[in-house]
Amino acid sequence: MATAEATPSTTRDALAGLIPVSIVTGFLGSGKTTLINRLLRRPEMNRVAVIVNELGEIGVDNDLVQVSSEQMMLLNNGCLCCVLRGDLQETLRELFIKRRNGEVIDFDRVVIETTGLADPAPVMQTLITDALLLDQYRLDCVVTLVDAVNAPGQLKQFSEPVKQVALADRLVVTKSDLVGEKQMGALTGRLHDINPHAPVRLALNGDIELSFLVGVGLARVNARLEEVERWLGAEEDSDHGHRHDETVQTFVLRFERPMPWAAFTQCLEVLTALRGPDLLRVKGLVNVEGKAGPMVVQGVQHLFHPPLELAAWPGEDRCTRLVFITRGIPRHTVSDLFAAIGAVGASAS
């Protein structure tokens, strides 16, 4: 391992040079702006480009603003705020072009604040499927903010907050000081039911440790075990031992034997064709016949990131591991499909 790292590759690492993108989502009033505002004041976040819906919304103190235009604002600490213009693709492309031309800061991270009502899926899909953006950016983390006061009602009443929680890599509960312990326990239980893979933290007034929110996505093809585990989420055995949300099912499929890539893609094609909108998020490693390292799979509904091979298996476990977050698709439906198509020879373990 040490030798491999000591000799630099004569090729490019397909992930290492990409600019990480964090998506901050959450229902109206959940504290997205407060969180971003606090993050921008941290010394480590001094080269961040933030894409917001309106510059006024970000509410940065005037004394922090160095230069501003209608569309962009440079802060004293070096960060850049930029208004979402047209569509996200256009804004991200334009930001990169301006960076390359030396017209804006050399940002090393992008934070996208979605609108409260937004479904984060299209934002994620843009990042994992747009060919031009794939060359420059990678999805690092979806952070969903949950307002402790209003979320219990919102999660019952609306479908968007449920989806925002289901798609998250990290959940941040805000305004926890305004509710009692019992209500908090109920809320975190509910969040865990919807998305058992996303760690939960409390934040008051946007105060949260940065390490919880960054460095979640895979950042290099030589990823170490802990990096892969951090990306996949710690809790793998979600099918046993706790309740499920009525609408969102989360489960992990494991297959011990390597499978042909064609069979795997056929399974995904069938799934996305029949149940694409309900396949909220899929991520995992696939042991493909004839490949030295695992293939990384990431999908949001019917769209998938182009497949990417890791340099080597991180750790001893060579099983295919796939995390599914679905709306109403039970585990057995997916595992039966894999068995029927013959991708795995036997049913999932």
Binding site: T11, A16, G17, N101, G102, D106
Partner: protein
């Protein structure tokens, strides 16, 4: 102030970077103008010594200890005998270094190249001088010396009278197996450039007459029978040098006009049958734009086909910054213990566009994967950094040099 296009603190005073991190910077004792000769020696005592040829007088060459690339230290800096000569180019094999000398006018000396013993880097000792001065010679512009046996030289000669004053240099192969007695073993020139040739003199470039002479003359141990030559306005040539006394052309690519000439380096990616061919931008403020780096399919040597160019930032973003903007030198996959070799990653310099790295995994669609454009050096005569040449070592540490005052930048890559 409040306009788009200025949303960078410090403007050009601060560097632009993507996936390249500045480790160290050395101004070379106030003589920070480096030409296009860089090579990294692994000295017998374990030190790593970077040898740099200066772009112009008064300095000849400078050696910098880059054992710790975060803390480069100057080891030696030498002077030229007078202001009408420049060294510009050097190469190192083991403990022997070849240094070119080109004069401003015909007939001056020293013109040709020196061989130095650099076993003690602090005290380079001249072994021999190969004199190429003559009534129509400015001497040598460029050396390519990687095998310890032959120097592939761009030079004039006392017996060479060109048909046009700008065509006064040609390709010469010099046997240096006995370093104290270098001797020419072969030569080749563009037909029609020497008085007395059967062929007529070649046509001048209609807008930018850069001349018909070689710039880089690259020969690699994997293909000792091939010389890859950028012949300025004469395009790119592949010569069969299996018989060094009789180099024979086997491939030629001419794309100027309509392009603006000055073919500079022909870097072969031998395993992949590709050539990476750089032009040199020689005019300030975009006057000779576009000056590109071409990816060429060389599966059939006699039919070289350009398939792509390296993607560069738009000219309008850089040409107004002062000085030159466009292609120039590349890291050339030199053999040796301290050289990075890749047929996928290309590192190249673009004057005020800095040093940039490209991924050629798909040669039809090269991708830019990193760049470093230094902030404008103090007292920069052109008002911008002018990154002239680059070396990449086996650890993928990048050494980039400025043409005028910026000196040496050491960088690490994160892609």
């Amino acid at each position: 102030m409040a306009v788009e296009g200025s949303l960078r603190p410090g403007g050009q005073a601060t560097p632009l970077a993507l996936n390249m991190k500045l480790l160290g910077h050395h101004e070379l004792a106030g003589f920070g103008g480096i030409g296009e000769g860089i090579n990294l020696q692994k000295a017998k005592d374990g030190r790593r010594i970077l040898w740099l040829a200066h772009e112009s007088a008064p300095k000849n060459f400078t050696a910098v200890d880059v054992t710790d690339p975060r803390n480069p230290r100057m080891v030696v800096q030498t002077d030229l005998p007078h202001a009408d000569v420049r060294s510009n180019s050097l190469d190192v094999v083991g403990d022997i270094m070849a240094v070119a000398y080109q004069t401003k006018k015909w007939g001056l000396k020293p013109a040709g190249f020196d061989l130095f013993d650099i076993s003690k880097p602090e005290q380079p000792k001249r072994i021999s001088h190969f004199d190429t001065s003559g009534p129509c010679s400015r001497g040598a512009h460029c050396v390519f010396f990687v095998d310890g046996e032959y120097v592939h030289l761009t030079s004039g000669a006392p017996d060479f009278e060109p048909t046009h004053p700008k065509d006064d240099q040609f390709y010469r192969i010099i046997d240096v197996r006995n370093p104290s007695k270098p001797a020419e073993v072969g030569r080749w020139w563009y037909p029609g450039t020497r008085k007395g040739d059967a062929a007529p003199p070649p046509p001048r470039h209609p807008r930018f007459d850069g001349g018909y002479r070689p710039h880089n003359t690259n020969v690699y141990p994997q293909r000792p029978d091939r010389a890859y030559i950028g012949y300025i306005d004469g395009g790119a040539w592949i010569l069969d040098i299996s018989d060094k006394s009789k180099p024979k052309p086997v491939g030629h690519l001419q794309y100027s006009p309509p392009y603006n000439g000055f073919t500079h380096t022909v870097l072969p990616l031998i395993e992949r049958n590709l050539l990476v061919i750089s032009d040199e931008c020689v005019k300030d403020n975009g006057e000779d734009w576009p000056k590109l780096t071409w990816i060429v399919d060389a599966r059939v040597e006699s039919n070289l086909v350009p398939v792509a160019t390296l993607p560069l930032p738009p000219a309008e973003a850089f040409i107004k910054r002062g000085g030159r903007y466009g292609s120039h030198n590349m890291h050339e996959n030199q053999p040796g213990p301290c050289s990075f070799r890749s047929e996928n990653l290309i590192f190249a310099t673009f004057f005020n566009g800095g040093v940039r790295a490209f991924d050629l995994a798909n040669p039809l669609q090269p991708k830019e994967v990193g760049y470093f454009v230094p902030g404008t050096p103090k007292l920069a005569p052109k008002g911008s950094a002018q990154i002239n040449d680059v070396w990449v070592d086996e650890n993928r540490i990048v050494y980039a040099v400025d043409r005028f005052g910026g000196g040496l930048y050491t960088l690490e890559t994160t892609f």
